[in-house]
Symmetry: C2
Subunit: 440 residues, 2 copies
Amino acid sequence: MTPVNSPAAMPRGGSRLDPWVDSYAARSAGLTASEIRALFAVASRPEVVSLAGGMPFVSALPLDILADTVAAMIRDRGAVALQYGSGQGDEHLREQICEVMQLSGINGHPDDVVVTTGSQMALDLVVRIFCDPGDVVLVESPSYVGALGVFRSYQCRIVHVQMDDDGLSPAALTETIDRLTEQGARIKLLYTVPTYQNPSGITASPDRRAEMLQIAARHNILVLEDDPYCLLGFDGHVPQAIRALDDQAVVYLGSFSKTIAAGLRVGWALAPHGVREKLVLAAEAAVLCPANYAQLTVAEYLDTQPWLDQVKVFRELYRERRDALLGAMAAQFPAGTTWTVPEGGFYSWVTLPEGLDATAMLPRAVSSLVAYVPGTGFYSDGQGRESLRLSYCYPEPERIVEGVRRLAGVIESELDVAHTFGTDHVQPPPGPAFPDPGMS
Amino acid sequence: MTPVNSPAAMPRGGSRLDPWVDSYAARSAGLTASEIRALFAVASRPEVVSLAGGMPFVSALPLDILADTVAAMIRDRGAVALQYGSGQGDEHLREQICEVMQLSGINGHPDDVVVTTGSQMALDLVVRIFCDPGDVVLVESPSYVGALGVFRSYQCRIVHVQMDDDGLSPAALTETIDRLTEQGARIKLLYTVPTYQNPSGITASPDRRAEMLQIAARHNILVLEDDPYCLLGFDGHVPQAIRALDDQAVVYLGSFSKTIAAGLRVGWALAPHGVREKLVLAAEAAVLCPANYAQLTVAEYLDTQPWLDQVKVFRELYRERRDALLGAMAAQFPAGTTWTVPEGGFYSWVTLPEGLDATAMLPRAVSSLVAYVPGTGFYSDGQGRESLRLSYCYPEPERIVEGVRRLAGVIESELDVAHTFGTDHVQPPPGPAFPDPGMS
């Protein structure tokens, strides 16, 4: 055999950095590493208080009980758990998922559920089957960074629609649709996280949900409802899902990442029947089938453990952390800083005093051993420089307080710099408010 | 709140069957359910001997030991196993994967490995980053049905290249490339399963591997080497991978589905560095990260269990079943039937006596309580009607013998019918041979 590590094996037109640089698909142009990636590698050092990541606090899970549950499952059903399974997902788990969704007022049939490798994969599959390059996806302002990545990867045109503290603005939605329709755009999806939104922490009111749905349906736009946080409301209330209002106009995405464990990667889509058929075929092309191992772990846990009690443990733990964050921000942040008050979930959205730039400030924050995600990550169009997302889900409350103290110091120094260079303004007192001045 | 289950919520242009029928992306046109799907639901009944599925015999795994291994892993590392992880995959597992690949002569770096939800997802990601609609993918004749599904789902043009019993024909490959290049086609990938191929059972010779690589590299065509069966050679020999010959011209796909367990869904890609970067970004858009839970299970199993001894158990078990299949075919199949003799893996490729049609015959086979996959499934262009794939991996040897007995009866009846209607020919004696008369 002749080894062929030779110039003959190097594609023409390539570079030493990447010999395949001329061979990629057009859609790969949207795949570029985020500028803040390197910074986050630094931010993961233990001395940094990270208010950046959205990691659930899985250490609150009863690991001994889980270990026993999984061991029993492998002994009893190992031949199934370790085997290929259905492309649509385990039937018993799909029944259990329908019971979980009933908590959000959803009447779904197991036949219309597709189990996926986290709900991220469900999101990917929906976009894959619906969106041609150039098709418009409407999203909130701001919107979930992981969803924006999917839309970009399928070369969608992302258009942000204004929000206020009751959720997406119906007037702005109608205006945006009319404007785009006039331009001849094909609007395929309205992507929304209506409950304890990532990143804003905002929850859409019941009226807004109904209005959003009616406007979308009137214009043949499928509502893509992403609902991973619904059971994490601090008062125990579960908002009624948009999908509860209509079974044909909505694809609903759910996840066990925040109620059981993110590392299992078990999520799902509930879709109108015809859409579900296409989703299953797309899922089979993408991964053949979701992991029986993780699915049967979830099914066994739901069947044998008091899982809603554990969700309550998570909820109370996150409430305590949210309170720590809100208290510290009110006590420490300088005048002109505003933030949202989430009623559940993981996030608060902070808007800096006028003239400050959260993206430019991030390296200085990391030097001061605190990290956040700049607001620009949640927009596809450069908006969000004045804002940032703070996550309170993972660090202990005292660490959150310390992180806010550090961040307040960074904001103060930025204000000093701005003052020195004359770009400051008279700032209103700090406090909770809907954040983005550019949005209302 | 107003329920909106009303005509207003029904998109215009939709049908009662699927209101969204006019909204799908162009790529969804390739997503159609296989005609034989319903038949396979019947074929999964216990009274049917299924020689159709490619399910590994996971019952041979030591379930008690696995249960203890996983329980210990959750107790010790649950906070990691149940958490989100790196989009590229767990670092320790990537190191272990490099050790596994050394068995195939591959010198890879953990930095260039991406862990995926089964190697199917790696395949999907490679096509996603490389192939625009209309781009050509070269594949073997026949080729793996799951890969054809991926290529179709990205609207690739699939072109089959002839094989013989030493693998892909270099002359045919060159001729095909020249012809397509003359037409102005953009050929992106050469997809090959060089070892114990699914579905043909054929293994490419060392010389053929080197020739295939040189021809592809000369034409800027990336070789996509899919190698899930490499450790399942019946004589214990592991063929040297094509990737062992060149680290820039090949993306190598590997899997634990056949060496540990398919239900874990842990596979990987080893790619040139620039390609790997894009693969990780695409993976993050697709699923955020592979499941730490499954990855740490595999890592713990590799670290603490004699996993290569277990592979040997699988190998001997599959050899016994291959022998049962070959013996039964030689004893039972009528004159004119030929088949391949696999030296490893799961499959033999059978060609029926002239004039018979494996696709048309399938319903009658299922009525006679035996199932197989018709050859047409492994072609994108309607070829393969005279052939079928038999899998010997899952049924016990005596069931395989019974299945072949039933199938032989079905072939005999088909020959009787053909004889009655005058379409039969003088048939050569039955026996092992390279199968497809249309291919050489």
